[in-house]
């Protein structure tokens, strides 16, 4: 885990004072809402349908138990006792009062956390692989690189008023658990001739014009990385469209001028920027990386697990991931109980997860872009005890990557941009498929729901995607099939006319029936869709 030094702490403390002051000016009426808006939007404070919503940054989704407990404390003291984990590996509070914001940020700063750049047209929280530092398949731990980018992008003077928001993901394995190529910049750390560097993809994203990021550069060594990224951003800041906010993301620029031409302009800018001396020395990466050294794993621990409890065996089968060390696994805690709100956790559950991390996972937790929580380093021998604690607290759902492990945006229940509710649809679908045997029979099936075209619920990347729209004043839901945010990245296609709230639940059931009737041995839903195409699904839905 990264630890702030006096510089990091000073900067975050200054931000607390600054934002406290800006909130005070707003409360005193010295700033109008119009004047306050750009200021609060640099700090993750949104004015939603019912209240202010505050988004807290969880850099690259990594936190320790002390930080997790603080999130629980804030939920209890300033919110209505809940936190909502997001697809950007962050946490949102939906019921915040403006007059409390300064105190909340001060509480966060006391545990080395902040809400800097969790909104606004700037570089947002850097996302990464939830199994970083634990996965057996990674080239290196991507988090030191992500922390380097966090610092570089914080209060960047040139890139705080970009044409639109800007999201960067860093991964370090071929398996993509962070939807890397659906980011404005995706970085995959690779090794070449014994040197680790970044393969750079630019211009991916979801929203109303989904695009998969093309590769822009095959290898950028550490020594050039920040110069290269500054060049990428500068070309975008100067030439990205500002005439239409729906065409302002970098994906539109890259698409309109072409990846090759964009790469050429970046190279030209890089040749200049590289002369400025803005790249930190290798010693800085080493300094950061030292904080992410392996915890004190035990050696010679057993790989045996007693699976005699069938409920435990079920959970074990779905919710653990291979670890780089023998005798250990990474555990995913599902925040998707049947009928619950995807990604929500109560203050008590947050506290419990903090306690369990301290006891069983070397004090570490991760947030996944699928809105679940990971305990990255759990000894196999501790799994049964851990599961018993989770099960007792309603956190033992064994539905990871199954149809009820739904990504959903807050939708019209909270969000001022939404056209339709997402949460009730997620709840109805999960309830329809509540039978675990049925879910397991369907296998890996990533279902993602957005309540508007902005696609915060990643519907373009769902094996099954659902998009809520407003049709003549009533909520209507379009069905999409065949997307993926993983290494087999693809964009989902719309099936045809939309459905009402109950109709979309029936429609999901129908397409799963088509899958079951057509699948070949070992095929997931998305594999069958890719093989047989849209027609059989359309026939079942509309025929």
């Amino acid at each position: 885990m990264y630890k702030y030094d006096q510089y990091d702490q000073s900067i975050v403390d200054a931000r607390v004072a600054e934002f406290r002051d800006q909130c005070a000016r707003r409360l005193k009426g010295e700033l109008t809402e119009d004047q306050f808006k750009p200021l609060r939007l640099m700090n993750g404070l949104y004015l939603q349908l019912h209240a202010y919503m505050l988004r807290v940054a969880i850099p690259y989704g990594t936190l320790d138990s002390r930080q997790m407990r603080m999130l629980g404390h804030i939920a209890r003291k300033y919110d209505r006792g809940y936190g909502h984990f997001t697809t950007r590996q962050n946490l949102q509070y939906n019921w915040i009062k403006l007059e409390d914001c300064g105190d909340i940020l001060a509480d966060l700063a006391s545990v080395e956390m902040h809400a800097i750049q969790t909104s606004g047209n700037c570089i947002r929280n850097i996302s990464s692989d939830q199994f970083a530092g634990a996965a057996a398949d990674e080239v290196t731990d991507p988090r030191p690189w992500a922390e380097l980018l966090r610092q570089w992008s914080s209060f960047h003077p040139e890139f705080s008023y970009l044409p639109r928001k800007f999201k960067i993901a860093v991964i370090a394995s071929d398996e993509d658990r962070a939807a890397m190529r659906l980011h404005d910049i995706g970085m995959q750390l690779i090794e070449r001739d014994g040197v680790v560097g970044a393969k750079i993809f630019v211009g991916g994203g979801m929203g109303r014009t989904p695009m998969i990021a093309p590769e822009i550069k095959d290898f950028v060594p550490y020594e050039d990385l920040l110069s290269y990224l500054e060049a990428c951003l500068r070309v975008y800041n100067r030439h990205g469209r500002r005439d239409n906010m729906y065409k302002a993301r970098i994906k539109i620029l890259v698409h309109e001028i072409g990846a090759e031409e964009y790469a050429r302009q970046v190279e030209e800018e890089f040749a200049h920027v590289k002369t400025l001396g803005i790249d930190p020395p290798r010693a800085e990466l080493d300094r950061i990386a030292a904080y992410f050294a392996d915890p004190a794993f035990e050696t010679g621990v057993s790989d045996d697990i007693d699976c005699s409890d069938p409920d435990f065996a079920l959970w074990l089968d779905g919710n653990v991931h291979a670890h780089k060390r023998p005798g250990y696994v990474s555990v995913t805690i599902s925040l998707k109980p049947i009928g619950g709100i995807p990604g929500d956790a109560s203050a008590d559950q947050i506290d419990l997860m903090a306690d369990l991390a301290e006891r069983y996972s070397f004090d570490e937790l991760r947030v996944t872009h699928s809105q679940n929580i990971v305990l990255p380093h759990v000894k196999k021998a501790d799994l049964y005890a851990l599961w018993q604690h989770l099960h007792a607290a309603g956190l033992g759902e064994s539905n990871l990557d199954l149809i009820s492990d739904i990504i959903a945006c807050p939708g019209l229940d909270y969000c001022s941009l939404a056209n339709a509710r997402s949460i009730p649809v997620a709840q109805k679908i999960a309830s329809r498929f509540a039978d675990m045997n049925r879910q397991r029979e369907l296998g890996e099936l990533k279902l993602k729901i957005s309540g508007c075209i902005n696609a915060c619920g990643h519907h373009h990347a769902g094996h099954i995607g659902i998009l809520g729209v407003d049709r003549k004043g009533t909520e209507n839901y379009q069905l999409l099939l065949g997307g993926s945010g993983a290494e087999d990245v693809s964009l989902a296609k719309i099936t045809g006319p939309g459905f009402d709230e109950d109709g979309i639940v029936d429609a999901v059931e129908k397409v799963t029936d088509v899958y079951l009737a057509n699948r070949a041995e070992g095929e997931r839903f998305v594999d069958t869709y890719r093989r047989v195409g849209m027609d059989p699904f359309k026939e079942a839905l509309y025929g």
Binding site: S10, E18, R25, P157, S160, Y161, L226, R238, E284
Partner: protein, 151 residues
């Protein structure tokens, strides 16, 4: 810069961080600047290429960069590009400028400001003094923390 403040604590809209005398010649458009050899002040609109000025920096004393709406951040890149190329004359940000944006503009090399709406002096001074440290090198002389860490 203190003489830019008026008595009621509101800064008038010619805010300078330079010791030299304000440049009197009105700024001309980029097109007319490139078409005449003797102008010493030019105004860049958003979307105009700051690099078009690079061959002429030695005779320029004032470059005014337009910020038509506060959220249009192209001028931040223009400022840095001009300073990175060695321009030392007055670099003025003009237009819809919020007081809380001025610290970032200072870091991008701007040393004078002509905001459309007056700026509160106390708020500006607090904003400029707020951060003791910065994370990245830019067009000012502030030392990034990585350099402080590693000497």
């Amino acid at each position: 810069m203190t003489d830019s403040f008026t008595t009621d604590g509101v800064v008038d809209n010619a805010l300078r961080f330079r010791d030299d005398e304000p440049h009197e010649e009105p700024a001309v458009t980029l097109d007319s600047f490139l078409g005449q050899s003797n102008a010493t002040a030019v105004r860049l609109e958003t979307g105009e290429d700051a690099r078009a000025l690079l061959p002429h920096l030695d005779r320029l004393q004032l470059i005014e960069v337009s910020f038509p709406v506060f959220r249009d951040g192209r001028g931040y890149s223009a400022g840095r590009i001009l300073r990175e190329a060695g321009y030392t004359g007055e670099l003025r940000a003009a237009g819809d400028i919020l007081v809380d944006q001025i610290p970032h503009m200072r870091r991008c090399g701007f040393d004078s400001f002509a905001p459309d709406k007056p700026v509160d002096a106390a708020v500006l001074q607090a904003a400029l003094a707020r951060y003791d440290f910065v994370y990245q090198a830019a067009a000012d002389d502030r030392t990034p923390v990585w350099k402080l860490r590693h000497g």
